[in-house]
């Protein structure tokens, strides 16, 4: 046990000196079954170009994991591996294991539609359908064949409440979603993802097109959502990664340079390249 955790332990113990306290150092290592996503020896190619090199990483459930790194480092490619979004790209090739909920999503027989329901995605630019607010959220349920109107109504309301959009739109549910502001549209897209009850939410720079107030709302939302979902977020905003994530992984030129608890990465990174990147000395 290091000195920092010793002192933490003393504070937690207060006056009851005999109460055993579990610290990070005394916690037992987790078993593979306890992770939501595991990648082993993952290589990704676009034709001859290798976008990811031998990535080994485990993602805990009910947490926010931030993927950071300069443009072209492979972080978005890695994110899209989890719901097979790269499959649409010509010459895309993958080697190694990608295990989501104990299933290898590239070798086992799985239904892509089901995978994308379980592993939802939110993109950089809000992309609502040119339909009403209500229909945008109900869309996924209808695709799944849900016909129960009462159930759909309830689901639309609860999803919009989860993203704190309900009070802003409850009187205008028939309004076209494209008439909403950028921040509202992004929250609507998150509500659309939540409506089909995913296990994992992937976010590819979800706030880069938003103003600080909308960004703040999305970040607040992430904090609440991680109690129910596993969230993986790609961000170029270092402070956002530091604010919202529990774990951070730094990628550079297709390599996973370092990953660990966000507090560790942002206070005492073990790799010089990580230090240079997060402190802005890179390049």
């Amino acid at each position: 046990m290091n000195y920092r955790s010793e002192t933490q332990e003393l504070i937690m113990k207060k006056d009851t000196m005999d109460t055993p306290v579990e610290t990070n150092e005394t916690k037992k290592p987790k078993k593979d079954q306890e992770y939501k996503i595991i990648t082993r020896n993952l290589d990704v190619f676009y034709g001859e170009f290798q976008a990811l090199k031998n990535i080994n990483m485990k993602i805990l459930p009910y947490s926010v994991t931030a993927l950071i790194g300069p443009s072209g480092c492979g972080k978005s490619t890695y994110l899209r591996v989890f719901n097979r979004m790269n499959d649409y790209i010509d010459d895309f090739r993958i080697e190694g294991d990608v295990i989501v909920d104990r299933k290898n999503i590239y070798t086992e027989k799985i239904e892509i539609e089901q995978l994308r329901k379980d592993v939802g995605m939110v993109f950089q630019k809000p992309n609502p359908f040119p339909k009403t607010i209500f229909e945008n959220v109900a869309y996924g349920l209808r695709i799944q064949g849900v016909k129960d109107k009462h159930f759909i109504n309830e689901k639309v309301e609860s999803s919009l409440k989860q993203v704190t959009l309900w009070d802003e739109v409850k009187d205008n549910l028939k309004k076209n979603a494209l008439a909403l502001s950028g921040g509202q549209q992004q929250r609507l897209c998150i509500a659309r993802t939540l409506a089909v009850e995913p296990e994992v939410i992937l976010m590819d720079e979800p706030t880069s097109a938003l103003d600080p107030i909308s960004t703040g709302k999305i970040e607040e939302l992430l904090f609440d959502l991680k109690n129910e979902y596993t969230i993986v977020i790609v961000t170029h905003n270092m402070q956002q990664a530091a604010r919202v994530s529990d774990h951070t992984a730094f990628f550079y030129m297709g390599d996973l340079i370092e990953e660990g608890k966000t507090t560790q990465i942002f206070t005492k990174p073990s790799n010089k390249r990580t230090e240079n990147y997060i402190t802005g000395r890179f390049g």
Binding site: M238, F266, K268, E275, G280, R281
Partner: protein, 234 residues
């Protein structure tokens, strides 16, 4: 150089300037005390205002640096360390100011016979050397140099601990009954010992900055644990 690197450099320069000023204050205080020079003491007291100004300037620079640059990792540790370093330097400056005020305001004159018995010049020299060590350690990142002051601090503590018996012996031999004089002597030695503690704190901050290791209170906490265990066993 990137904009935030200018900020860091600026804070570094201010910190080294403050270190030099405090070193100078200690040097002058020794001279003023040993020669009972009220003019020199007055100069030290005037310079104390500059020491305080440095602390405020560094506080402001770091406040801006944290708010505008949102530093992380070693840059954040640098800012945290410098905040505490400047606060410790200011307190060393305070001690120098207090000792000078005994000469300047209270017309305190130290007698030569007690100076050597109490090792007062040695204490001043040790503090001077400790300040040089931490300045070099902060500049170069030489942790061994920073750790050297821990030993030097122990030496100062030892003198302070022996103070009551030394004063008692002196009182018996010299038959001096001026209690006020003896209180002043105790205060001076106590303040010099506190300067050593402050420099030790600075060394701990330098180690924290360069190695991200927190070492403060470690030994004392162990001592407390041992004492508590001992009393429980009895």
């Amino acid at each position: 150089m990137k904009p935030f690197e200018y900020d860091i450099e600026n804070i570094r320069i201010l910190t080294f300037e403050m270190l030099d000023l405090v070193k100078d204050q200690i040097h002058l205080t020794k001279e003023a005390l040993l020669t009972s020079d009220p003019e020199l003491s007055g100069e030290i007291m005037r310079k104390e205002k500059r020491v305080n100004s440095y602390e405020i300037s560094i506080d402001r620079e770091i406040e801006d640096f944290l708010a505008l640059q949102a530093p992380v990792a070693s840059d954040l540790r640098f800012a945290m360390a410098v905040l505490k370093i400047s606060s410790s330097l200011e307190r060393i400056g305070d001690h120098a100011y207090r000792i000078s005020s005994y000469v300047f305001e209270d017309d305190f004159k130290i007698t030569k016979d007690i100076v050597e018995i109490l090792h007062i010049p040695t204490m001043f020299d040790e503090i001077d050397d400790m300040l040089i060590n931490i300045t070099d350690a902060f500049e170069s990142g030489d942790i061994q140099l920073a750790k050297r002051v821990f030993k030097q601090d122990k030496f100062l503590n030892k003198i302070n601990k022996k103070l009551p018996s030394i004063v008692q012996d002196y009182q018996k031999k010299s038959k001096k009954t001026d209690v006020e004089y003896l209180i002043y002597l105790s205060r001076i030695v106590g303040k010099l010992e506190r300067c050593g503690d402050m420099i030790k704190n600075i060394a701990e901050e330098i180690i924290f900055y360069y190695e991200s290791k927190v070492i403060k209170h470690r030994k004392k906490n162990k001592q407390i644990t041992r004492k508590l265990e001992k009393s429980e066993n009895n």
